[in-house]
């Protein structure tokens, strides 16, 4: 058949000589390399006991922030859900009642706020879209789990702990 391109290279294979046919020198050379690695610095760590330092722009588990008075910043405006390319975020808004001013910053708040961690691609667009600086992807790696429903993180897991707790 005609070659389609002229990039074809013809390799010449010489017959092996006696030492090469023995294979033993090559085997010992290979084992030498393996043996040498035993004295080199280990690259692996024992996760989860040991954790690597995250980089500055690491994006991990989301957290819903509180303001300086401990009130939740999120007002359920829906911009994070709108910007989410994976459509991982859903929320239901609630109206703040009288006497709840210390709990929620604005008159509207997220009564339900759920992120499906199986859908989330950790792109950080929600963080960028948030007009209230309420959501940040500053947490650790999302832990593994067994059931799909356990990956839908609600407010209990997302909202950061109140100040002084």
């Amino acid at each position: 058949m005609e070659p389609l391109s002229n990039r074809k290279k013809v390799l010449e294979q010489k017959p092996m000589n006696f030492w090469e046919r023995l294979y033993l020198p090559a085997i010992f050379q290979g084992m030498g390399i393996t043996f040498m690695h035993m004295f080199k610095k280990k690259e692996t760590i024992f996760y989860p006991e040991v954790e690597r330092e995250f980089s500055e722009n690491w994006r991990g588990l989301h957290s819903l922030k509180r303001d300086e008075n401990g009130a939740e910043r999120c007002t359920a405006c829906g911009l994070c859900a709108l910007s989410c390319p994976a459509e991982a975020i859903t929320m239901i808004a609630g109206e703040r009642q009288k006497g709840e001013e210390h709990l929620y910053r604005e008159e509207k708040y997220a009564a339900v706020y759920e992120i499906n961690m199986l859908r989330c691609i950790f792109c950080g667009l929600c963080e960028e879209a948030c007009p209230k600086e309420a959501i940040y992807l500053d947490g650790p790696i999302v832990p593994a789990d067994y059931l799909r429903k356990d990956f839908i993180y609600g407010k209990d897991k997302l909202v950061e702990d109140p100040i002084g707790s």
Binding site: T75, G78, A81, L82, K108
Partner: protein, 333 residues
């Protein structure tokens, strides 16, 4: 009918009936040259002339008197003359003036868009996004008001109001027995009803539709959902009081709210009655016509997959040919 007059807006000439305003002449041309309007409402007699967003420059008064008008004029209140030449987006002076107008409109506006139910279909949002500046120079305290419930269906956030008077005209012209108006003067003026008197008229709900900002909102829709997560569907019903042509806003199976059908200028095609708006929120009450077409520039169209075929392909014959398979698939859907 007398003869038509010729008017040129941004270099585009059109023949219109005498007595037409510049704004309406521009709307007949359509496209980018239509001045934005916050207070003018073509269905409400006497509206307009308050917000000053529709300012245009008249570079030639008329054929008989070709002198330009000395100042920018409000196009919703200025009639056309034969041979008039108008500049809107071609005049840097107009663009600059509009920036100033937006800044003044936003002086007392709380910018609580994340909380406001109007966000996503708010004319002030569009206007300031298009024409405004990013920062305000206003350093003083903004005026604030308490929220008022006008009846059990309508809520008034006076803080957000830009005093366009549209709702007052609705109350004047659509409902009999006017119950709300503007109290106070100048800086102190506010929309109110005396002693928060409930408005219980068949057409009072239309103040929600005509309000260009989130000052008058539907209490039954309050904080229910954001506009862009709901799905607009055209529907009609046999209504004894109004025409019954509405847009239903669905979230899943549930009708979250009912509004009039808004055209490209944000004005309702037909005013609807309160029964249609507030009482009939079941799918069984309505005859569904199909999904409402939303401009692809609107945030409401985000994640609504009815953009196929893409607008850019629609006009280009070569692209239509090249995307024949996709077209067929889209029409099948």
């Amino acid at each position: 009918m007398s003869e038509k007059v010729k008017v040129t807006i941004d270099g585009i000439t059109i023949d219109v009936d005498p007595g037409t305003s510049i704004l309406n002449a521009a709307r007949q041309i359509g496209g980018d040259i239509v001045p934005p309007a916050m207070c003018y409402y073509s269905k409400l007699e006497g509206s307009g002339g308050k917000c000053r967003t529709c300012l245009v420059k008249v570079s030639k008064g008329s054929e008989k008197d070709p002198r330009p008008m000395p100042k920018l004029v409000a196009s919703c209140r200025t009639g056309v003359m034969d041979g008039m030449e108008v500049q809107n987006i071609t005049s840097p002076e107009v663009i600059e003036a509009r920036k100033g107008v937006v800044e003044i409109l936003l002086i007392n506006h709380p910018l609580d868009c994340p909380v406001c139910d109007q966000a996503g279909e708010c004319h002030l949002q569009d206007l300031s996004y298009e024409h405004g500046v990013a920062n305000t120079r206003y350093e003083f305290e903004r005026r604030t008001f308490e929220r008022i419930d006008i009846g059990d269906k309508i809520q008034l956030h006076m803080t957000r109001c830009i005093l366009c008077y549209r709702c007052v005209y609705v109350a004047d012209q659509l409902t009999d027995g006017r119950q709300h108006g503007i109290l106070g003067r100048g800086d102190a003026s506010e929309i109110s009803t005396y002693i928060e008197k409930a408005i219980d008229n068949d057409f009072s709900g239309n103040v929600i539709d005509v309000c260009p900002v989130g000052a008058l909102t539907d209490r039954t829709f309050r904080f229910k959902n954001r506009v862009w997560f709901t799905k607009p569907v055209d529907a009609h019903r046999d209504c004894p009081t109004c025409k019954g042509k509405v847009t239903l806003w669905y979230k899943g199976e549930e009708v979250l709210r009912v509004t009039g059908r808004k055209d490209q200028f944000g004005e309702v095609e037909d005013f609807i009655c309160n029964t249609c708006r507030f009482e009939t929120k079941n799918t069984s009450d309505w005859v569904i016509e199909g999904p409402r077409q939303i401009a692809h520039t609107s945030v409401i169209s985000a994640n609504h997959y009815e953009m196929l075929p893409l607008p850019v392909i629609k006009q280009n014959q070569a692209l239509i040919e090249a995307n024949k398979i996709e077209f067929d698939r889209a029409s099948k859907i």
